[in-house]
């Protein structure tokens, strides 16, 4: 009974702490807006979930529920990780853990309460989505029969287990000291890709007979949806394959082809198959319990990642930066460089050297990938530099100085820019010899990354949105897509930067003083 009371107390305190921030309610409002956008009218030029380019279900309760379920099990399982993670780290950083650790609370009970708290946040998000989805169904009026059970069923059966896995990773990544901050935020993106693509391929019903007949399904539950929808889709688009399911924005050429799908009846075994992911997540959380005390004791390691620990002395930096220290702004720049570089790990320096060599000796494609890699390993600097006073508690010392806001902004922009350019300097020098326009595009992209990191940090007052953005763009970039494919498509990169740079500069200049005042 006492264990249950403790569990309840931890859970409620955690939820209160989350729900009493403005950010929490802003996120819920955004979920409502994005959910509405997921159900465009039939004459819109896009669909969000469908088959091929233009096949989607009529907005029945079952289809609306399935759209929500697939969006949540794929997109929310990525973004949701960044939304919910950090509650354990908060307990460690605020030293609340030191108060909890001396109580009779069980470690497994504590971790389970955190996992349930993550799930409660996801449930609230899904509830908002279901309500907005129901309203969208009525408003679009393609099928007016609102069936609450059909609306909720896919969300519960498909999304909830997918998000249970996400909640597990949010707990795991808060425990491992080196995954608590930027490192974990970057790595989770690849975990998500692996889960989505890896288990997706394994359970793809179009790939094997076993996958068609099994009661098991991938983490996102797409195979389950495909198995059921395939027969219906075949009636309107017989040439489409099972794997042609598209989640995310697809441009529609012409009028969308609609099919009617009003009921979804997964069998008991399939539901049990989904529950396996929930069970594995809970078991995983219990398995982590013995590591909790050790993980909490390693706050110092995590602080190193946050920039709050001494790091390395790097004596060679002193003579290098000394010439800068003869002026005020130079002194600031030198101190900022020391702060940034002293806290780099040995791995960062090794990776930078490796990527530098690739930029010097590699072919054009390798140069592009190495440049993206060099920016990616420095993502924490771009995402967190502007938030340093918030993270280190130095705001009250710094912002009582006349002109501090302006001087610090100049120094932060300077350091971010020099770092973004510096890590790709070999590529820049090499390419500028024969291809100045591509070199210009690299320079513009480096500037864009530096300014975007600072601006998005100021805007969101959190490093995670930019970390997620850069890692997603890097993933697209190494496949020659998106704005970071600067060596493959320099002209596109230049055009995009011309649009983005002024916006980011305005956001940064307009919002930085407010952020400084808010401390």
């Amino acid at each position: 009974m006492n264990a249950l009371r403790r569990f309840r107390a931890i859970l409620i305190a955690d939820l209160r702490e989350r729900s009493r921030s403005t950010r929490f309610w802003v996120v819920l409002a955004l979920v409502g807006i994005v959910t509405w956008w997921c159900f465009p009218p039939s004459d819109a030029h896009y669909i969000t979930v469908g088959f091929g380019d233009n096949v989607r279900g009529i907005y029945s309760s079952a289809w609306v529920g399935m759209v929500l379920a697939l969006m949540y099990s794929t997109m929310l399982s990525l973004i949701g990780f960044y939304l919910v993670r950090g509650t354990l780290v908060r307990d460690f950083d605020t030293r609340v853990w030191q108060l909890l650790v001396t109580t009779p609370m069980t470690r497994s009970g504590y971790l389970l309460a955190k996992w349930v708290s993550h799930m409660a946040v996801f449930a609230l998000i899904m509830l908002v989505g279901v309500v907005v989805g129901g309203i969208a169904q009525v408003a679009r009026a393609e099928d007016r029969a609102l069936d609450f059970v059909e609306l909720v069923k896919p969300v519960v059966v498909i999304s909830l287990p997918a998000l249970a896995v996400t909640a597990f990773f949010a707990v795991l990544f808060d425990l491992a000291p080196w995954l608590r901050r930027t490192g974990g935020n970057v790595l989770y993106f690849f975990v998500w890709i692996f889960l989505l693509a890896g288990t997706g391929v394994m359970f793809d019903p179009g790939k094997s007979e076993w996958a068609r007949d099994t009661w098991l399904s991938d983490t996102a539950g797409m195979s389950l949806a495909m198995r059921d929808l395939h027969a219906v889709v075949a009636t309107v688009a017989p040439t489409l394959k099972l794997s042609d399911i598209a989640i995310g924005v697809s441009d529609v050429a012409g009028i969308p082809v609609l099919f009617a799908w009003t009921h979804w009846n997964p069998d008991v075994a399939e539901v049990l198959g989904r529950l396996i992911w929930v069970a594995l997540s809970v078991l995983g959380v219990f398995a982590l319990a013995p590591t909790l005390d050790r993980a909490a004791a390693r706050v110092h390691d995590a602080q190193a990642k946050a920039g709050a620990s001494p790091g390395r002395r790097l004596r060679w930096l002193d003579p290098l930066l000394r010439p800068l220290e003869s002026t005020q702004i130079g002194t600031l720049l030198a101190a900022e460089f020391k702060l940034v570089l002293r806290q780099r790990s040995a791995w960062w320096w090794l990776a930078l050297i490796g990527l530098g060599i690739a930029q010097i000796v590699g072919n054009r494609q390798a140069i592009g990938i190495a440049a993206i890699g060099a920016w990616l390993i420095s993502v924490d600097v771009f995402a967190r530099a502007i938030l340093r006073e918030r993270e280190t508690g130095t705001g009250p010392l710094v912002f009582v100085a006349a002109g501090a806001v302006r001087r610090l902004l100049i120094a932060r922009i300077g350091v971010a820019l020099l770092l973004a350019i510096g890590v790709v300097a070999p590529a820049l020098l090499r390419i500028s010899v024969g291809d100045p326009s591509t070199a210009l595009a690299i320079l513009a992209t480096a500037t864009g990354i530096a300014l975007s990191g600072l601006a998005i940090g100021v805007l969101c007052r959190n490093p995670r949105p930019f970390e997620l953005l850069l890692v997603a763009l890097a993933y697209a970039g190494v496949q020659n897509g998106g704005p970071l494919a600067v060596v493959a498509r320099p002209a596109d990169a230049l055009q995009l930067r011309a649009l983005v740079l002024p916006v980011m500069a305005v956001v940064l200049i307009a919002l930085w003083p407010r952020l400084a005042r808010s401390r």
Binding site: G307, A308, S309, P310, G311, R313, E325, S326, T327, Q328, I329, T331, L332, A335, K338, L339, R342, Q343, T392, G393, T394, P396, L397, V398, F399, V400, A401, A402, G403, A404, R407, L408, R519
Partner: protein, 293 residues
Amino acid sequence: MACELTVELVHYRYPGGHEAVAGIDLRMGPGILGLLGPNGAGKSTLMRILATLAKPTSGRVLWNGADIARSPDALRVELGYLPQDFGVYQALSAREFLAYLAAVKGLPSARAKTRIDDCLGLVGLADAGDRRLGDFSGGMRQRVGIAQALLNDPTLLIVDEPTVGLDPEERLRFRHLLTDLAGQRLVILSTHIVSDVEASATALAVMDKGKLLFDGAPEQLVGQAQGHVWEWMMPESHVADARAKFTISSSLRRPDGVRLRVVAASAPSDEAQACTPDLEDAYLWLLARAVAA
């Protein structure tokens, strides 16, 4: 060098609705103002307003006649501020950190170097200046905080709970430092440790629940407590009962019992004897009257 700080009917209400500062009126000139009050009295919020970190919900603060909410830089160039809680950059040495803050404050580089050495010397860190802050103890970091507040040789020095974490020797050194600094400048020392104020303050303000309870010379406050402080010797078994009934400013265990110092409107017992109040007694007497009112 002009040095006049005027607080005019300042209110500060947090977004949640709690009024931390409720209509403070105060005029301050050169010297050391000790700002006393129990925890939660609103001292730190008032300090933040005076240090331009927060704007009053209503009312205004004037520094030499200029409203600091409208032109904060006029005050900031002459301000040294030691907040109650602050962080440091652990990757930097004390000297590098002070050089960084000197640059942020806009000190010319040549002058900054001299000031950094002077300030490190003033707080007893001359030999530790090149050690990194990550290796410093809590007390040493607090001294770095004091040093940074002195960097620009401020005309207005605001120190919020400055002696927290300092050992007795360092606390004494800090008190002497404050006394030396106060000349033509204004030092505002916010604390709940009465002995810190008693040692150095030339003027005193006492806050409770966001309101100003007293503003004047320490002797005036002590004068108000005259005839309301009593020494009372009693067996140890009676102490708990006395504590429940009266405000006790101190107790001293003796071989023949416990000697209590009681703050009360009249003698708590026929055995109690009137004694000369000190600042701690006077402060408690003021708070007791405020509660009674």
